[in-house]
Every structure is written in C-alpha cells, then in structure tokens.
C-alpha cells in the first residue's frame, strides 16, 4: 500500500466521526484509518512493515495456532470490552494448549455508521491487552459492511505460539483418580454481560473476569505437577467443558458442589434468572486435570499467582463407561451435570 501523504487528508474525526463504506474500500480513507487508529495504537515493527502479512523470525519449537471470532453484545461491559476480550480469548486458547503465545493477527468487520470514538476505545483496549500480555498484533485486516449488516464491530483474532516437547496437554488424557481444579470463581463473564443487557436492567456489580492466562499457565507448568488437561471454560461454562473432556478421555467425573467457587452476586443473579453458574461463560478461568499426587502442589502454585488466588479442587475423575459428569449437591443428593442444551445466553464473547 502506498504511503499517505500527510497534509492531503484531514485527520480522522475521532470525536464525532463514523465508519463509512470508504473505510473498507482499500483507498485512502482505509489507509488513513489503519494509520491513524490501528497502527498508532497497536504499533510494532511487524505492523510497521506495512505489508499484507508479517514476516517473523523462525520460531523455537512446535507451532500452535488458534483462532477466535468475537461478536459480544454489548461491546463494552463491566471489566472489559470486545477489544481486550479478543486478545485474551486467543491467547487463552494457545495457553491452555501449553503454548507460549507469541504473535496475534486481528481482523475487523466494521458496520457502516459505527462511531470512530468507540472504535478508538476498542483498539486502545486491544493494544493495552496485547502490551500487558507481551503478545503483539503483527498483522490485520479491516472490512466494512453496510448499516444493518453487522452489529458495530466483530473482531477475529488468530494467534501463534510455540509448545515445548514433552508438554502436551490434551483433552483425552484425563485418567481415573485425577483431580479437577478450577482457577477461580465461575460464571463472572457471562453474568456481567447478562446484567448489561437492556431488557434486564438490574445493576448488579458483576465484573467480567476477562484476562490473559498464559502467565498463570507458565506458573503451573513451573510447578512440575503432572498436568494432563488444561481448558478454558468459555461458552457452555465449566459443565460443558468438563463433559467435553470426559468424552474425549472416556472417563466419568464427580464434582463437589460445596467446593465450587461462585461469587455471591453471580449466584444471586443466576438464581434470579434461573441460570446455573456451571453453564455460564468465563473468559479468565481455566480448568486443570492433574495427577492425584500433584494436585496440592499445583493448587499452591496457582494460588500464588494473582489470577489463581481462588483456585480450588472441585472434583475427581473416575471410570465410567457412560462418561457422565456428576455432582454431589450441597444438599446431599447426586445429579448429572450435563452438556449445555440450547443457548443459555447468545453473543457472549
């Protein structure tokens, strides 16, 4: 793309301006948007190359790739927005593979009429999240769709990371006897979004837990514990993620309801809406399945990290040809914790 000559074009009106079709046309307006907004905030040497892609040095190890589309509504919510969420989402997908995340690519679908001020907030938040995580956005793409054909902005991020030999976390490795650990309170992200939705109008002080988990995972790997499986329980919540693992590994699980960390305001909001925190999305939590003898050591390592302070052992793995995830209720009975059915909450991430 040719360089835009300064002085020829008025700067973007980041206060009152709006996205229009020319911002996706490939012409000057698009170049200006990229330069004054995306490159300015996300700026790094790779992006500065200004090419259609980024050329990176050879990577030390086996490559891991992950991609994640973000369509959350509302775009801004307590504890975060679509910008930082799109960075955290993909970093976490890499982290739970045991990978060290290295680079991100971001693709934006903007709706005509979307306020540039909001877009700027989103890009700034994205840049801050990428900076904090130490994972740069090295290439990107922008498209614009007509008004009514999108919902403000959709962001897809793709990430690349490397994983060391011998560190293979996979959903099919849970074994009878293993312990199940969750890194903190469950259901925060989903209920933060739910509380913001206009039709509900209750102002519960619930914040999304959106966060990049690769630091926590590094601390966990450093503990030397024999971790079998790592997963981030996003859509479908802890219940659905555990069912996926149980099926992949061909095992059953038994949870202890009393051990589940749930914030009181999340529990109350769930009760009010008839939801179950076990099925509500998280964006800054992970589930670990670990060899029984290493559970306490791993728990201690997690609790020593700021994102794992409320980590808890919530259950164990056993043999079960039916692959049921069950739970001993706080009441003293027993029940299945099944896959999520239908759509508990659309457009959550």
């Amino acid at each position: 793309m040719s360089e835009v000559r300064k002085g020829y074009v008025r700067p973007l009106d980041l206060k009152h301006g709006r996205v229009d079709m020319t911002h996706g046309s490939g012409g000057r307006a698009m170049a200006q948007l990229i330069e004054e907004l995306f490159a300015r905030h996300l700026g790094n040497d790779y992006l500065a190359q200004g090419n259609d892609g980024a050329v990176m040095p050879a990577l030390p190890g086996r490559l891991v790739m992950a991609t994640d589309a973000h369509v959350v509504s509302p775009l801004f919510f307590p504890g975060g927005d679509i910008g930082c969420l799109s960075v955290h989402g993909t970093i976490n997908d890499l982290a739970v593979m045991g990978a060290t995340p290295l680079y991100l690519a971001a693709s934006f679908i903007l709706e005509e009429g979307f306020a540039l001020a909001d877009l700027a907030r989103i890009v700034e938040s994205m840049a801050a999240a990428a900076r904090d995580a130490g994972v740069p956005v090295v290439t990107g793409d922008t498209k614009v769709v007509e008004q009514g054909k999108g919902d403000g902005v959709f962001i897809t991020t793709t990430g690349v990371g490397v994983v060391r030999d011998g560190e293979d976390f996979s959903g099919d490795r849970a074994r009878p006897g293993d312990r199940i650990i969750v890194s903190g309170s469950i259901g925060d992200h989903g209920m933060a979004i739910m509380a913001q939705r206009e039709s509900l109008g209750f102002a519960a002080p619930i914040e999304s837990d959106t966060a990049a988990l690769h630091g926590l995972v590094a601390a966990m790997r450093g503990s030397g514990a024999r971790i079998r499986v790592l997963r981030d329980p996003t859509r479908g919540g802890v219940a659905t993620t555990l069912n996926e693992i149980a099926r992949q590994s061909g095992v059953g699980m038994m949870l202890q309801e009393r051990e589940l960390p749930v914030n009181p305001e999340v529990a109350a909001a769930c009760e009010f809406l008839g939801l179950d925190p076990l099925y509500v999305a998280n964006e800054g939590k992970l589930l670990a399945i670990v060899a029984p003898d290493d559970a306490e050591a791993l728990l201690a390592a997690m609790r020593a990290h700021p994102l794992g302070r409320r980590a808890a052992i919530i259950g164990s793995v056993h043999e079960d040809p039916q692959h049921f995830v069950q739970m001993t209720t706080g009441f003293g009975g027993r029940r299945i914790v099944d896959w999520l059915t239908g759509e508990q909450l659309p457009r959550i991430c």
Partner: protein
C-alpha cells in the same frame, strides 16, 4: 445467598431424611405426585430422591407450563410470526416446543419471523410502545402464577392506548388439571397410577390460596401439602404427607406458609377475573380436551385478543405417535419408560414437550437423573 441457602442446607436435609425414614412404614409404599414442574426440577437438581427411602416414590405431575401446551397452540404462534408478520414475544422455553412441520418458534425465527424472548409481559408492552409501526403479540402461557402479569400488561396497554399490542392467551388452570388426573381411569378404575397424595403448587398457591385444594382432599380422600420450591420445602412436605397417610387423614396442609394463605392474593384474583373468562374447553397436551380449564380474554378487552385481531383459529394436532408425553404428564409412565427417551428424543432435539423445559419430567430426568438408569456407575 441469604434467605435461599437456608432452604438448601445439607445438614437439615440429612435430619429430614432420617425423620422420613423413621416415619415411613416399611410395610407400605407411598406414591406422591408433585404437581408442579418447579418441584420436579428441585427434586432432580438437588438429588432429593437420593435422600428418600425406596418405598417413597415421587410421580411427576403435569404442572409444567410449556409441557401442557398442545402443538396446535404453538402452531398459532408460528402462523402469527411467519404469516401475519407480527413481532411475537414469549417466555424462553416456549421457543423450543416442537410444533407442526418440524418447526419451533426458534426455527420460525431463523426463517425470518420476528420472535423475541422476554422475561416478563411488561417487556412486550414496552416493545410495543417503542415500535408503534409493529404489531406486537405476547404469547401468554402458564398457570395462575403468570396470569396476573398478563392481565396487568393488557390493562397497561389499554391505559397507554396502544393499538399495536395483543395477547395470544393460553393460560390454564391448576385445579382443572388435578381433577382431570383424579378422574382419569388410571387412577379411578384401573388403579395403574397409585396416588397417595399431592405436593401442592408453590407459586400458583400464592395467587389462588390453599382453599381450592380442599375439595380434592375431601372428595377424593387425597392429602395435599402445599410446598415451596426449595428442596427442604419438598422434603418437609413429603414428611407431612407420610404422616397424613399413616394416620388416615386427608386434608390440605400448608408447608409454604411463608408465602401462601388460605385465600391467596385477592387483588390478583380480581384482576384476572376482570380481564379473563373461562373457556368452555381447552386442549392440553397429555390430558386432552379438559372442560373449563383455560382462560380467554373477555369481550371488553377484545381489541387486545390476538385470536380475534388476526382471526386465527385453533386446530388440534395429534402428538408424535412414539411420544409418551401424554402418559408421562398423567403419571401413567415414567420418562425412562418411553421408547424414544434419550435416543431420538433429547433436550437438543426434543420430540415431546416434556423434554423441552427444565421443569419437564423428561428433561429433568435426562439432565439430572439418567445415571440411575445405567448400572455399574460408581457412587
């Protein structure tokens, strides 16, 4: 959560469990029907049956609003959304109830129908206010608990002078359904459904009071204990029912005294009577056509009646032949007795309505209890 956790306390549950074991006569069997889906859900979700002795069996009743909604009624709502082009609002579970031609309201939405999930009838009124250019129809379902809010919505729409709001009224009455079960040949003639008593509705009773059940206790000699929807409420009610059965009594007792009185909520009752009147008959899924068991909108409020406004009529549609929802809703069969339970019919692809709502007997058993059907699962 304060005021809720107290009713889910494991210690108290163990105490009640021991009291029930002691009270239950090992020489006899006890069969109690919990009428409400709310009770069914609580029993399954908290594993209440695990705390009961083997000779106390719970039978799931028909008190699940979306379960008793016949296919023909959902068809009406779908026709409104797809053919009349209205904005159709309804409560969440209703969206997934299977209707004719493999459709649901959810699928009608994907075909371009404007179908919205709302949390209250007031949301539908607000939507009509906000979009005067659209015809908004509230698909009103449920028992006596959800009827007063529908009446309020209609009154509100009238006060606001809304010309674009109407209600597809499918409200039904609890006492009619209980009579229907007690009069059914399985209970009266063949004795295939042994019924020793009822756990009476919680929220419904806050509206209608405990008095309407006195007739059943007296006429049919069946004890009724009204209970709240928390698991300790249910266990306490079971204990009270066992005590009544043991002493040969059949009266209405009120475990849910923190919310239910004998007369109920008179204000709500008057409001309902002002806006609605009895239909001569109403078809239920499972129970068939039950006389004087449903409500319709009175003539005075006819402009808010979607059936009149859009001139749509009800056409009865038979259930899927393999589906046992009817027998399950009457307590004649259990979910696991149905051939298609858990195979063809699952919460993802429900064939019958009992598999749709979390209050439905099949969905509750599938979601929370089906591990009991398979042997060899460790405790």
């Amino acid at each position: 959560m304060k005021y809720i956790d107290e009713f889910r306390d494991g210690e108290l549950a163990r105490g009640l469990s021991a009291a029930i074991r002691q009270a239950a006569d090992p020489a006899r069997r006890y069969h109690f029907m919990e009428f409400c889906g709310g009770h069914t859900h609580a029993i399954s979700r908290y594993g209440v049956t695990d705390l009961l002795p083997d000779n106390v069996r719970m039978i799931h009743g028909p008190g699940c609003p979306v379960c008793v909604l016949p296919i023909g009624r959902v068809d009406m709502a779908i026709r409104l959304a797809l053919e009349a082009g209205v904005t159709l609002c309804t409560y969440g579970d209703t969206l997934r109830v299977p209707a004719s031609d493999g459709l649901t309201l959810f699928k009608a939405k994907a075909r371009g129908g404007d179908v919205r999930m709302v949390y209250s009838s007031a949301d539908a009124v607000a939507l009509a206010q906000k979009h005067p250019e659209k015809q908004v129809v509230f698909f009103a379902i449920g028992f006596e608990t959800t009827t007063p809010p529908t009446a309020v919505a209609i009154r509100q729409a009238q006060a606001l002078g809304l010309k674009n709001f109407s209600v597809l009224c499918c409200h039904v009455l609890t006492p009619s359904a209980i009579s229907n079960i007690l009069e059914s040949p399985e209970v009266r003639q063949y004795g295939t459904v042994p019924l020793d008593g009822f756990i009476g509705p919680a929220h419904v009773s806050t509206i209608i009071g405990s008095q309407p059940y006195e007739f059943f206790a007296e006429e049919y000699r069946k004890p009724v204990v009204i209970a709240g929807f928390e698991p300790l409420d249910v266990m306490q009610a079971i204990l009270m029912l066992i005590q009544q059965v043991n002493s040969g009594r059949a009266v209405v007792e009120n475990e849910f005294s923190r919310a239910v009185t004998r007369d109920g909520n008179r204000k709500a009752q008057n409001l309902v009577a002002e806006v609605f009147e009895l239909r001569r008959q109403f078809e239920w899924r499972g129970l068939g056509v039950v006389p004087y068991s449903g409500l319709r909108i009175r003539k005075e409020y006819a402009v808010f009646d979607a059936e009149r406004r859009f001139a749509i009529d009800y056409r009865s549609v038979p259930d899927n032949k393999a589906c046992e929802c009817g027998a399950i809703l009457r307590g004649v069969k259990r979910p696991q007795d149905c051939k298609i339970f858990g195979t063809v019919c699952t919460p993802e692809n429900p064939v019958g309505s009992c598999m749709v709502s979390s209050e439905g007997a099949c969905a509750a058993h599938y979601t929370y209890g089906r591990y009991k059907d398979s042997a060899g699962v460790p405790a």
